[in-house]
């Protein structure tokens, strides 16, 4: 049967579909997660869909790790010696998919208490979440502009619906609508950029783009190519929330259901980061080697500084925890762009350092955000609010939640011994390594500002006493949440103290991607 198929294949095409087994598992689970909705009585749907999704993601994680990296590409199309397209399974891709899958496991776990309270739509929720995670996993391996676009849209379109999932809720509907409108604009810009690049290069693959940029006779780039690259970058800035393309973030993150926000803040942002690295390695580094493409570093540097300052300053007056984390995620996008700027700069000890710093940072960010959102979901279940008053004196009322939240805020602020500290340290180090001292000092200053507003919340939880005369609802911490919180806290501490093995992984992943560019 398979051999029959192979005969029909066009010349130079090798499917190598076995490389994508984990993705098939996730896709299959996503379809399967809808089934309980049809078959089971209402009371048992939530648990059945949740555990199905959980099992699928966990198996996918195990399979990704067990299969390990491979030099072959799936859906590989060759024209002579030239790679037209293909889906990579190098260590970078393996690392990103593994992180997405394990992050997905915890996203599902923390969503269980939340979905238990929903009266309908369990199947949709988990199916959408799984498809979105599938999109992120697929993004990890892309090697041409068109599949990049398709995979990214898979993530984004799922996220539109996830944001608007509570359709009777004004804020959620508003979030979905805003996200859709602005997302559509960014998609259009991205697509335009892809079109311009294709028009200039005559080729959609990253390899082709890189080859074009490296050719000495192409030293004078046509304006449409520069514009094209800029538009693709802008499209990706939208995804990770770089200023001035951040406008959707606060409202969407606040209005979307909390598990959906957790997804947006971690996995969805991760998709943007992966693509910035993949695209950046092809388009930004080689460009640098030929002509004065230092302007890309200036573009990235300026955007990162503005993003950072906007994020940390905007977070100061926030009195809703979700909105605070939204602004803080803009701030984090600033650090991400800072690392990309380091990757795109020549000199120092190569591009790997920035790449591995960024991957470590994202790993830390996953652990931290998931812990924080597990607390947010639990507190808001009791208090029906995300405001600061729900957190007043939390250390007396729910010490375990307060510890988890405090540790994740410290980790977001970048305080040792938490994960976020080592991530920020690596990024600052990669930036200094390339001689971008201005960025380093701005980044360091932003740490102090962010410490201020995170500590305002620590103060709310630890130093302020519960108001007298106010009756606080008792907070119940479900067993699943307890597990997520323990795992999150251990992960944050491990990533912050016992960095050796984790850094080895990101280093390997970063080396595999840098080998393409250099």
């Amino acid at each position: 049967m398979l051999s029959f198929l192979a005969m029909q294949l066009p010349e130079g095409f090798t499917p190598n579909l076995h490389l994508m087994i984990p993705e098939f598992i996730v896709a299959g689970t996503a379809l399967g997660a809808i089934l309980p909705e049809l078959l089971l009585p209402a009371g048992r749907r939530a648990a059945a869909t949740a555990w199905t999704s959980l099992a699928g993601l966990a198996i996918a994680f195990v399979v990704v790790v067990a299969m390990g990296p491979s030099d072959a590409m799936a859906l590989h199309m060759k024209d002579g010696a030239f790679d037209v397209t293909g889906w990579k399974a190098d260590s970078f891709s393996v690392f990103c998919r593994a992180l997405t899958a394990i992050g997905g496991v915890f996203l599902v776990l923390m969503s269980i208490p939340y979905t238990r309270r929903m009266d309908r739509g369990h199947g949709e929720f988990y199916a959408l979440l799984l498809f979105a995670l599938l999109g992120v996993m697929l993004v990890a391996g892309v090697s041409d502009l068109l599949s990049m676009f398709v995979c990214l849209e898979l993530v984004t379109i799922m996220a539109y619906i996830l944001a608007a999932l509570r359709r009777n809720d004004m804020q959620s509907t508003e979030a979905g609508l805003k996200y859709l409108v602005i997302g559509a604009v960014s998609t259009a810009i991205l697509l335009l950029g892809i079109g311009l690049v294709y028009g200039a290069v005559g080729n959609l693959s990253f390899a082709g783009l890189e080859e074009y940029l490296l050719k000495p006779e192409n030293a004078e780039y046509p304006a449409i190519l520069v514009m094209g690259i800029a538009f693709v970058l802008i499209g990706l800035f939208f995804k990770i929330g770089g200023v001035p393309f951040h406008v959707w973030i606060p409202d969407v993150y606040q209005g979307a259901p909390s598990p959906a926000t957790a997804f947006l803040i971690t996995a969805s942002k991760f998709a943007g980061v992966i693509l910035l690295l993949r695209f950046g390695e092809a388009a930004l580094l080689p460009a640098l080697k030929t002509v004065d493409a230092f302007s890309w570093v200036i573009l990235l540097g300026v955007v990162s500084v503005i993003t950072l300052l906007f994020g940390v300053l905007g977070a100061i007056p926030q009195r809703s925890i979700k909105r605070l984390l939204a602004y803080s995620s803009i701030g984090h996008a600033g650090y991400i762009l800072m690392a990309i700027a380091a990757v795109a700069t020549e000199g120092g000890s190569g591009a790997q350092k920035g790449t591995s710093a960024l991957l470590y940072y994202m790993m830390a960010y996953f652990a931290t955000s998931i812990t924080a959102f597990a607390v947010i979901i639990t507190v808001s279940a009791a208090a029906k609010s995300h405001g600061h008053e729900a957190y007043t004196g939390l250390a007396r009322r729910a010490p375990f939640l307060a510890v988890a939240m405090a540790l994740s805020l410290f980790s977001l602020a970048g305080v040792p011994p938490m994960a976020g500290f080592f991530g920020k340290f690596l990024i600052l180090q990669s930036v200094v390594d390339k001689g971008l001292y201005v960025l380093a000092f701005v980044g360091a200053g932003a740490v102090i500002v962010s410490l201020y507003f995170y500590m305002l919340w620590i103060k709310e939880m630890y130093i302020r006493k519960p108001e007298e005369g106010v009756t606080y609802p008792s907070i119940h911490v479900p067993g699943v949440t307890r597990f997520v919180l323990w795992a999150g806290m251990i992960a944050m501490l491990a990533l912050g103290v016992w960095m050796g093995p984790f850094y080895e992984w990101v280093h390997e992943a970063a080396t595999s991607i840098a080998a393409v560019g250099t």
Binding site: G348, S356, A395, F410, V415, P416, P417, F421, F425, L428, Q429, V432, D433, Y437, A440, F441, A444, G445, V447, I448, L451, Y452, M455, I458, K459, Y462, I463, M499, G500, Y503, E504, H507
Partner: protein
Amino acid sequence: MNPLLLCLLAPAAATIALFFIDENAKKAIRAISTVATGLSLAMALLMFIGFGDYTYEHAATAEAFTANAGAADEHVYKYGIAVDWVEELGLSFRLGVDGMGLAMVLLTAFIIFCGVMVSYGIKTRVKEYYICLLALVTGVFGVFASLDLFFYYFFYELAVIPMFLLIGVWGSTTKTVDQNYATMKLVLLLSAGAVFALIGLIAVYGEAGTFNMVALEEHGFSSSFQMIWFPVVFLGFAALVPMWPLHSWSPAGHAAAPAAVSMLHAGVLMKLGAFGILRIACTYFPQAADTYLPYVGILCCFNIIYGGLVAVAQRDMKLIIGYSSSSHMGYVLLGVASASLIGINGAVFLMFAHGIMTALAFALIGWFYDQTHTRMLDDLGGMMKVMPFAGTMFVIASMASAGLPGFANFVSELMVIIGAWDARNVLWFGVPAILAVWGLVITGVYLLRAVKDAWFGELPERWKNLKDQRTFAERTPYVILTGVLLIFGFWPQPMLNVVHQGVEPLVKRLDAGREANERGTRNARLERIDEPATQGALTDGEGR
């Protein structure tokens, strides 16, 4: 097991253990904290006693340590231990102390042990209190013991953050200080200093390609690199010293903190900054140090005189001691700035002596503040009648602070002043030395007045029932601290020997840096003399 590692791990392990203990088991919590810090103190004393005859063969990992160090066969760090942590970055967990580090470890061990005992009076949220306190002290031990730049910073920041909760939750708001304001200011300013220094440390790493502090000492940075990065690293640490004009976090922080935290804060935390200046800024950048340190000599006069005069104006006992601390850290900076053997020896010894003295004073203020809920001199008076033990201790602490012979402070301040007077030239350092002597007079003014107003004179009716320290457990911490002050005051040699071992190589480096600078200036001058000659020759040639 390596005593230095044990010294660091004991409070760290206790911090984690306390998380799992029921918060109502207050006795168990106190016992664990006391045992852990007692163990640290025992280890520190053990190291101190055995320091002279300790050789590498004693350490199990000595071989790995020297092999990784890549330095000469023999270096000044003892009790070394090294574990590879992140190989790709060349980052390793590396501990070891020289004489300076050991003096500071011993100081920390004394203060935290007494601090834990003094904190038995804390009644609310005991568990969280001790978790924060022990986490803080883990950070402090880590800084003094680290020989890896990454972990140095890691512990440095770890020592700052718990302060926020310690002051915010258990501190006190009075007429003079608001605790929320003080704690936020303290943490933000200290972190700002730390992060500022971090950029410098990363730049050092970028230049030398290693985090290993032993190898970095031998690296020899180019003089232009030194000139740029010395100020960055120095100012980052100077914020913690606190050098004028970066001092404003410190008196407010002292005043708002609970007793044990003030003790640690003034006794140890400020020393982290001075230690960083000596261990990193001066050691790695000796040439730049030669250029910049004279200016530090001027700034520290502001510390000494201005800090002292502000202390004279205070009526809040804690603020008096707080400003007095920043005044005395001026002497430490003066000793550092003199860049002479006797001056730096004196500075390190003063760090030790001042730490013990100020811890004693804060502990005593905490003792009566718990009962009176006021520290204002105008409200107090005649307390010697009801608490003679505490009063005597306070007088001893004040005398030590004012530099009375017989106390370690006298010895060390004298050394600093002699060092400054002897230093390179009279113009730069003679004036600060003279001012420093007058600083001692100012110290006498505010301390004697505090003693007079608070402890002698009329005892107001409402303070008739104040309690003195009566039981053995209550008196122990005070007796320990006073004993240390007196022992090292009458017999400073053992401590000076230890300190000297660490200071000597540093001073050699600083001298080498000065010589290199002088050579540089001489060469530049020679070049300038040469230049016109060559030009003349060229003109001649054209003329011909």
